[in-house]
Amino acid sequence: MNPHLLTILVFMPLAAALLMSFIPATQKTLYKYVALLTGLLQLILSGGMYYLFQPNGAGVTEAHLYQFVDHIPWIRLDMGSLGQLEIDYFVGVDGLSMPFLFLTALVMVVAIGASWNIQKSVKGYFILLMILNMAVMGVFAALDFFLFYIFYELMLLPLYFLIGIWGGARREYAAIKFFLYTLFGSVFMLLVIVGLYFSVTNPETGAHTFNMLHMMNPANYVPNALFSVAAGHELIGISARLLGFIVLFVAFAIKVPIVPLHTWLPDAHVEAPTPISIILAGILLKVGGYGILRICFSIFPDAAEQSAWWLGLIGVVSIVYGALVALAQRDLKRMIAYSSVSHMGFVLLGVASLTTEGTAGAIFQMMSHGFLSAALFFLVGMLYDRVHDRNIYHFRGLAGIMPRFTVFVAITFFASLGLPGFSAFIGEVFVIIGAFNAETVNGILPRWMAIAGSLGILLSAAYFLWTLQRMFFGQPRLKGGEEWTKSLVDASPRETLIMVPMLGLALALGVYPALAFDKINASVLALVELVVTN
Amino acid sequence: MIPLTHFLVVGACLFAIGLYAVLARRNAILVLVGIELMINAAILNLVAFGRYDKTMYGGQVFALFAIVLAAAAVAVALAIILNVYKFYRSVNPEDIKNLKD
């Protein structure tokens, strides 16, 4: 097996971006083909890696159980009295990250497909898209905290421009809000990273290290260091480790997002162009969930267990609150944005349950939401492309005008509201089951949280079906009259080609969840054990 | 013996006349004369005080020195006045105000 597959996967878009920078700006169509080719190659590569991935390798804390590892010393700097600075290029994959790499590749292809009609400065757009692609891949692959942080911050930059330049009417406001909000979280994260750096040493070299896996092992902490488990330092009255956990959690929770740190999301989603909405909902929200599992839970398992109850509460609040606010929306895209808040609440609830069912369900839910929210935003984009309107009340009886589109919408809506046979069902059900099970297994979450969470399933049916009823059923009546009827052509072959695989995957995962569970089981078990036995 | 005071009074008178000439005359030449008068007043004082230096005659030496200097200065000053006249067609100091701010 080629040991550098992962590195190739991560940096392939960068090569494509370089290539694009040499293509003269007059060759507009060439950019999208290069991008599409890169996306497809990545999809094939990540699919192959997914297939090759050995499901019994748990990873999580054990470096040797990671797969497709590349570990190269990157920065070595003698800092005098502060010791040796040790930053590695260290990437690898375990059951927690493998599904996300594949998801990223898939959603990127979809996003590139959705970008087909971009007219405004195509070159810049696709180069930024490729950089974003690389950064996201890197985040999911990085095992060195410094490297992780670089990729994490690198994601923001292209997104800022992609929203701020190619977005809708209030794009600047949305882009700045998104940028500052996320930066707010990650700046404090940097403090914790530095704190961890000075607390942890590499057992082989004795130097301080950014290696995440070393950070997960309590034995590697310098005695009496700030974040050392044994020392039990306190900062402003709380345990330093708990504080570190909270800071990292807030950084990732903004991405997830949780209520009340979610308001960047509706603005960013609504103002972003369709492909970027797809990427935001499909991948970026998952970075938050992935970060919570990979970093918050793995490095601070003790603090994670302490705060699991609160995490569960936040999850439940997000589920119910997001669903209720979605119910009141008049803008279709905004409604879907809030439904994302609600659906990602399930992730938090599942993770907080600290049971294998809940955690696996949460990862599954993230995968599922990746496909389905991407599909949802794509569908909204299709409508918006045609008439430049998204107000739910401006449409009626679309089923008679665009039957194929309506079929897609109905399937996606039902899949999102948890119809059995689609992936969201498995994700949500196992999150709820895991939350129920928590009281028996570890007593962390009370059962009312599971029950309250299941209210979200009810409410999601309410807002999706209501929207379906208002926009698609009944006698056709459009705000734009005849003109709209003419421009509302049914789904084109390109759009069908994009929708079918996504819904197909959601269906495949819903019918045969083992496709995902088999790959993540070992890692989930190891993670839950790490947190619970701590 | 004429007391010192008389010398000083004459010197002061001379100085005052010179000062008046310098400040009030409308002709540069006469201003120069006023300066000469003031120098002479100083020389007179030097000579008068020279009475108290009977060994080195410092006062008189200085007086001679000052006379020579004054003569040199007059030569230069007259040259300047001549040039000023050439340039301004006037020797009235009131007309020469190029140094004004």
Partner: protein
Amino acid sequence: MPTTALTYPLLAALSAVLLPFIGFLLSAALGKHARNGAISISAISLSLLAACYAFAQVWNQAPVHIQWHWFTIGEQAFHVGLLLDNMAVLMLVLVCVIALPVHIYSAAYMKGDPGIHRYWTYLSLFCFAMLGLVVADNLLLMYICWELVGFASYLLIGFWFTRDSAVQANKKAFIVNRIGDIGFLIGIGIVYSHLGTLDTGTLISTPETLPAPWLTVAGLAFFLGAMAKSAQFPLHVWLPDAMEGPTSVSSLIHAATMVAAGVFLLARLFPVFNETVLLVIATTGAVTAFVAAYFALTQYDIKKILAFSTISQLGFMMVGIGIGMYPVALFHLVTHAFFKCLLFLCAGAIIHEMQHVKETHALDIDPQDIRNMGGLRKHMPLTFATMLIASLALAGFPFTGGYLSKDALLVHTFEWAALQSGAAKLIPYVLVIVSMLTSFYILRLLANVFFGSLSNPLAKNKTHIHEAPMTMLIPMLFLAACSLFPLFSVNPLNDGHVWLMQGLTTTVSTLPPLPLLHLVIPLLTTGATCMVAILAWHWYVNGKYPLKTNGLLYRLSQHQGYLDVLYNVAIVRPIFRLSHLLLWVDYHVVDGTVNGLAALGRSLAATAAWIDQRLVDGLVRLVGKIAWGLGHIFRRLQTGGVQRYFATLFLVILVILLYHIVVLL
């Protein structure tokens, strides 16, 4: 123990389930090219054959159980499997037996509808899900099928999606069912967390593994699921609205099979329910039976009457479960499935004809309103005959299947009530009253539709009303035959000989029998039925209707207890208000805080900028200003006049001298 060997009965059951699914896929793939329903009809016919084979092999034999590994979460394996026992094969056959006539009927009933290809697709999907539900061996799989039948029902209720009332009805149906689904899900969660498996067999053999309070909660949760699906009060509101779907759909889904799924679930999980839960079930059932019968009394829409009748009968079945006699409940389920399905098919035939009349004469009438009908007996004699049989079965008249099951149910309820104390003793009496109400409303329907004469607009136009076509009549005749006693028992008057109950009773503790009741109850109900029939005849056929239509009780019944209004005011609108409030909070408080923080940041920056410009830079500029000002003052001395310079010089020297003199002195 579950096997992995696929024996013939299992294979038959599996193909019975999967054939409609293949039918669904094919119809969906072919779309408009498959309009005649041949695929769906042949699929369900083959299913029926397979189901009959499975039934023959399994009935009264040892249950067969097969499971395959599906997926693993952590170390917990989940399976898909089939569990074939008496209950499962009975339901399997029942669903197929009902579905096939309905399919055939639909071919004629739905003919010419532009969306008929969708109809077949949805119908096959429903059959697949329903058949899957009855043979599923674990709760997760049951839940999946449970939701899928709800989904198929959603699609079929909203089949005519351009009608607003239809799409509102299907949304309502799905959401109300979702409430029940949450109950089911909560039940699943509780069972899983205490039992570690979702296998139905394990659950019903060891329900005591669950701690007592959680057992009650789980029981109530499952019952909540059943309440929504089986339209129990107060979650029954979706079923009358669901009549917006095609009548053939109403007959299959909303009368015979899907709505009975709740009863089936409770029967399947029967050992899970403890005394408390059973009492709740019995009470809810009795209340539902009464309330629905009461609402049925004054409805004018023929399908609404039948819908409330269905709800009422489902209440009976719930009482059957609640008193611990689930075989009786299932028996009533089976008989009810036949006669209620038939009632709907007859109603469909009538509506079809009325619709036809309406279209040919361009009349402005509601084809479902019984006030517009009348005297149809002469025009549609076969329809009348079959509907009469079904109505008598519903009313519990001797020689019908309905008589056997209702009689058994009533008798057992009396036996059960003898052991109870308090208000529970009233339940059998409530059921007797409901039986009388049932007779009344169904005879009211018959009298209005088949007797008397056609209403004015129709009579004036000399309309020709025909009998339904044979493709519709044959299924109706078949179901009529099934509604009679011979299918169930050789003895038309004694439920003790019903093979169906004998096959199911094995595991149930019997109640102490009260033999006298077997004589009294049938006499009582039959007598009451006759009396009520006479009353209805007198009122409706002879036109001697004595009641005022604006009385409170009448209006309460007519408007279905104003429950929809109540729900709208008490639940739907508060939720909307809450959601709008939260939206406001989200915009103004949560996002307001964010924007406020941003504004705060901006104003801090503005303050800093002001300070920087005015104070810090101001000091620097002040120094310059002072220098400049001084210079301005001193420039006055710069006159250019040499003499003035001298004067100044002397003055200054003078001042210095004076200063020295003053200081030195």
